[in-house]
């Protein structure tokens, strides 16, 4: 009896215990692009145990119930991404994020997606992130068939091209030196090839990128205006494959070579141009201008266990521009070279399900060299060799740890130490048999110690916040505390308001020419003479998804105010020509620090973007209204003047239309109002007495007396580009053939302005000598340019 009672009692207790329990768990899933970190909508997610296929909603989220006591196997398979299988043991309600890695080859070579670009931007945390999928980049017409992500960025509001057709990027009124270019976390001091026509990023090795114009995560620092963070592809571990491409300007190839199946593989990619060989065919032997470049990229990947991946990276590139002329009495050769290089290791460790660590150490090197030879041979006996070199060596070590506490909160902390060794200008002059050296700040050294942290917290579905702090210590110079704040409020699923505040310091200054002519970029690190620049930016934005005539559209408007103190400019009368003309050695006591001065810049503007991301016709329209003014006590008599990159209006319209899965048409039209320009009121030529003949001689060195700084405007630029592409099969390999026209209506846009001298007939001076008058001449380098491009993937 007692036994029966005990059994009944136990049954009652068990029943009661079970009553409060759930028979299933809830799984909340978010699918993200591993590179851009943007959510991906409409992704099919198969759950093996349920024998069901779910689809993520338009914001990339999915929620489903899962019975207790089963392991969960999730398979995500989606076009343009590598498929992924995730196996989990579920012991409670679970939130998880699946990061899908983009398959860049699939994007470039796969069938054209005639339905949509599915990465959703509304879910992104904040304002100021210009993110494009590789698909969007390749859907734009390119220059010479070269897809260029930096150039594609200039079609988005806020990002603007410094000079027409080039990859010089100016962001929200900032200068070209205020952008941080990263490739796999390594800093690139030179961001372009072929005098800026192409960016340094080879699209065959790029898997995706984020471009921040405000709201920088705290791990980024050292540049005020923007961060272009590019990730390269991880080579395939199981299958050998490659890509090859022949274009008008360059050819390139990439190989992915598995070394140990499933564990280790190698990626090698490179580009080389043959434009110099082509150009020589059309130029006389005794006078030619050529430019060429190459770059090579290598990456070795080793999987160590299930949770660690080791990367060994290598990158090297070189650009060369040669201006050669030979006459019966002399040979003049002006050679400019730029070199970029980095090498290093990265160790990515998954410490546990919620903690990830990235350790990185590396070395990078940048060199800018100008070499000039003037040989007058036996006729005069003069021989001059002039060499200018600016070098930069960086050694760095960095560690970043990410803790994902829950779907609602995440912490990222880290630190880095950077050692800079640099020589801003080293000049070597050989006249006849004598050699002179002029060393300005040779082998200087500066150290940076930075600590940073970002904390993300989502209060609810409507409100989230990311607060960050960066401590930048330029050892021996100054230290800065740089707060970062981003707040996003989504009143409903179709719209979002964002606010961000960013403060960044920049100790590495890039000097660019204030006036006319070819610019030689020189990097200078802050010291006692020039302080680090500090930029603060406030930005607000509103994004709204809506439908118009059954077309899903997205509209966003951003407004910003940016203030930069301790910005650096050349003093009046100086430019980079000071370093590249042989007269500079005449006053060798001046270092680059002596010919610069500091001031402040204010920029503000409003940016509009209307996008259509789905359907056969996709594209976007962007417009920016902006103003940027500078105030330097020692320039322009202390009066405010327009900043060098003060572009008032920028408008861009880009569209691509998928005719079917094979054919695609694209077009893009850009307009930018003219940039400010300083023009000389008078030009003097320095003179000296020739001691041998006793007569005065005029030097070729120009001494301009300038008007008010940036008081003139360049001509506005506008360009229409079109292209058509077809997916093809070539010897059973996937391929793509593209033809297009750059600058369809042959608009002569200014690349730069220079002085020229024109003889005016009928006018002569008092000695009856011909009189030449200086004129300002616009140089346009990109005419109408038809192109073709053939690429294959094997």
């Amino acid at each position: 009896m007692a036994r029966k009672l005990l059994i009944i009692l136990l049954m009652i207790v068990a029943t009661h215990f079970c009553m409060g329990q759930n028979t299933f768990y809830i799984v909340s899933l978010t699918v993200k692009d591993s590179v851009s970190n943007l959510n991906i909508s409409k992704v099919p997610v198969s759950v093996k145990e349920l024998e069901k296929k779910f689809i993520t909603d338009k914001n990339g989220h999915l929620k489903f119930a899962f019975p207790k006591g089963k392991s969960l196997t999730i398979e995500t398979e989606y076009p343009d991404y590598f498929s992924k299988i995730t196996v989990l043991t579920i012991v409670s309600d679970t939130s998880l994020t699946i990061h899908l890695e983009p398959d860049i080859q699939s994007v470039l070579m796969g069938e054209i997606d005639v339905t949509s670009h599915r990465v959703t931007k509304l879910e992104g945390l904040t304002t100021g992130v210009g993110s494009m999928t590789p698909k969007q980049v390749v859907s734009l017409p390119s220059l010479g068939g070269e897809y260029d992500l930096v150039k594609s960025l200039t079609t988005l509001p806020g990002f603007s091209s410094g000079t027409e057709g080039t990859t010089e990027l100016t962001v929200r009124g900032g200068t070209t030196g205020e952008n941080l270019y990263l490739l796999d976390g390594y800093t690139l001091y030179k961001s372009s090839h072929l005098l800026g026509l192409l960016s340094v990023y080879n699209n065959q090795i790029v898997s995706g990128f984020n471009a921040y114009k405000t709201g920088f995560p705290a791990k980024y620092g050292g540049r005020i205006s923007s961060v272009i963070d590019v990730k390269s592809i991880d080579p395939k571990l199981h299958k050998f494959c490659g890509d090859a491409e022949i274009g008008l300007l360059t050819s390139k190839a990439t190989l992915q070579i598995p070394l140990i199946k499933g564990k280790s593989s190698l990626l090698i990619g490179g580009r080389i141009s043959y434009i110099d060989k082509l150009a020589k065919l059309f130029q006389p032997e005794d006078q030619f201008q050529t430019f060429n470049y190459y770059d090579i990229y290598g990456k070795w990947v080793l999987k160590i266990g299930d949770n660690n991946t080791l990367y060994v990276d290598f990158f090297n590139d070189r650009d060369e521009y040669d201006d050669y002329s030979k006459s019966p009495i002399s040979v003049d050769d002006k050679l400019r070279q730029w070199k970029n290089m980095y090498t290093g290791i990265r160790l990515n460790s998954l410490l546990n399900k919620k903690t990830e660590n990235l350790f990185q150490a590396g070395y990078s090197n940048y060199e800018n060299r100008f070499y000039s030879l003037s040989d007058y041979g036996e006729s005069d006996g003069r021989f001059e060799e002039y060499e200018f070199k600016s070098t930069m060596y960086d050694f760095f070590i960095r560690d970043i740890a990410t803790f994902q506490f829950s779907e609602k909160s995440e912490l990222e902390v880290g630190g880095e130490f950077i050692l800079h060794r640099f020589a801003p200008s080293r000049i070597e002059v050989t006249i006849a048999d004598s050699t002179y050296f002029f060393l300005s700040g040779q082998n200087q050294q500066a150290n940076e110690l930075n600590f940073f942290g970002d904390y993300f917290y989502a209060f609810n579905e409507k409100l989230n916040i990311k607060a960050g702090l960066r401590y930048s210590n330029y050892l021996g110079i100054k230290s800065f505390v740089e707060p970062r704040l981003q707040i996003k409020y989504m009143p409903d699923k179709t719209q979002a308001f964002s606010f961000s505040y960013t403060r960044v310091s920049q100790a590495m200054h890039l000097l660019t020419n204030p006036g006319l002519g070819f610019s030689t970029d020189i990097w200078l690190f802050s010291n006692e003479q020039i302080k680090p620049a500090v930029g603060s930016q406030l930005s607000v934005s509103w994004t709204k998804d809506f439908s118009f005539l059954n077309m899903p559209l997205s509209f966003s408007v951003d407004a910003y105010y940016k203030n930069t103190i301790n910005a650096l400019e050349y003093r009046d009368g100086f430019s980079s020509n000071y370093f590249t003309s042989s007269n500079s050695f005449q006053d060798s006591t001046l270092t680059p620090y002596d010919i610069t001065t500091s001031g402040q810049t204010d920029s503000y503007g409003i940016e509009f973007l209307l996008e259509k991301k789905e359907g056969r016709l996709t594209g976007w329209v962007s417009y920016t209204l902006a103003k940027s003014v500078s105030l330097f006590p020692e320039l322009n008599k202390g009066i405010e003047f327009p900043s060098k990159y003060d572009r008032r209006h920028a408008f861009s319209i880009s569209a691509s239309y998928a005719l079917n899965k094979k054919y695609q048409l694209s077009a893009n039209w850009n307009y930018g109002s003219g940039l400010p320009l300083t023009i000389a009121r008078y030009i003097y030529f320095s003179g000296f007495f020739d001691m041998e003949t006793g007569s005065p001689r005029i030097s070729t060195h120009q001494m301009p007396v300038n008007t008010d700084r940036n008081s003139y405007r360049m001509k506005a630029t506008h360009t229409l580009n079109i292209s058509a592409s077809k997916k093809i099969k070539l010897f059973k390999m996937d391929g793509k053939l593209e033809i297009g026209i750059y600058n369809v209506y042959y608009q002569k846009n200014p690349a730069y302005y220079t002085y020229d001298y024109r003889y005016l007939s009928g006018l002569s001076d008092q000695n009856n000598q011909k009189t030449y008058y200086p004129i300002v001449k616009m140089v346009s380098v990109l005419p109408i340019l038809p192109y073709f491009n053939l690429s294959i993937h094997f």
């Binding site: 009553m19 409060g20 329990q21 028979t23 299933f24 809830i26 999915l62 929620k63 489903f64 119930a65």
Partner: protein
């Protein structure tokens, strides 16, 4: 003249065919098979076996066309605490997939009689007149259906509006907007959501 009578008859038949009376929904009268019970934190949900809209063919047809499922449910609160249900504080999973419950207003706007559209059509019918030509005789009879159709169209409009109201009222009564289920009580109601079919139903209060 005979032709006119035939036309009148067809016209009236057309109007009267559109009129059907609304049959009240009674979820508590549905059949519930106990084997479908799912214990989920004190709440037990059992879906009904019958189609809620079985007697309301027009609504049923539109629901089928728009992929909207209306299903009667029995929810038992087996806990010792009262449970307050509102559309925002609980989640429903149909065949393991989270579904968004539609509010009575949303359901009515999707599958109810489209009053605006129909009023416009009938207004046009009333305002217009039809010309029937009798070719063999060469005579033209000007014929207005207004006199015949107006009472029916008015009746139809009123009936449609009443049906909509009743339907909405039923959905509100059996919906789960701000509804409290006492301890150990059972509540009957209606779930409306978009889905291809109704599978296993699960309910969970949001934390």
């Amino acid at each position: 003249m005979r032709k006119n009578k035939i036309f009148n008859f067809c016209f009236l038949l057309f109007f009267t065919s559109c009129i059907s009376s609304y049959h009240a929904i009674q979820p508590s009268f549905s059949q519930y098979s106990e084997s479908e019970n799912k214990e989920t934190g004190g709440l037990v949900i059992t879906p009904g076996n019958e189609d809620v809209l079985f007697s309301n063919k027009v609504f049923q047809r539109k629901a089928l066309k728009k992929g909207i499922q209306l299903i009667s449910v029995k929810i038992e609160n087996r806990s010792s605490e009262p449970v307050k249900l509102d559309y925002e504080n609980f989640e429903v999973f149909n065949d393991f997939e989270l579904v968004k419950l539609l509010t009575p207003t949303q359901v009515c706007s999707k599958i109810g009689y489209n009053m605006l559209g129909r009023s416009a059509i009938f207004a046009l019918c009333i305002a217009g007149s039809f010309q029937i030509s009798s070719a063999p005789t060469g005579l033209i009879n000007v014929y207005s259906p207004f006199l015949y159709s107006s009472p029916f169209s008015l009746f139809y409009l009123i009936r449609s509006a009443i049906s909509n109201e009743k339907f909405k009222s039923d959905l509100e009564s059996f919906g789960f907007g701000n509804r409290v289920i006492g301890p150990h009580e059972t509540a009957y109601g209606i779930f409306s959501f978009k889905a291809e079919k109704v599978g296993e139903l699960l309910i969970r209060l949001k934390k």
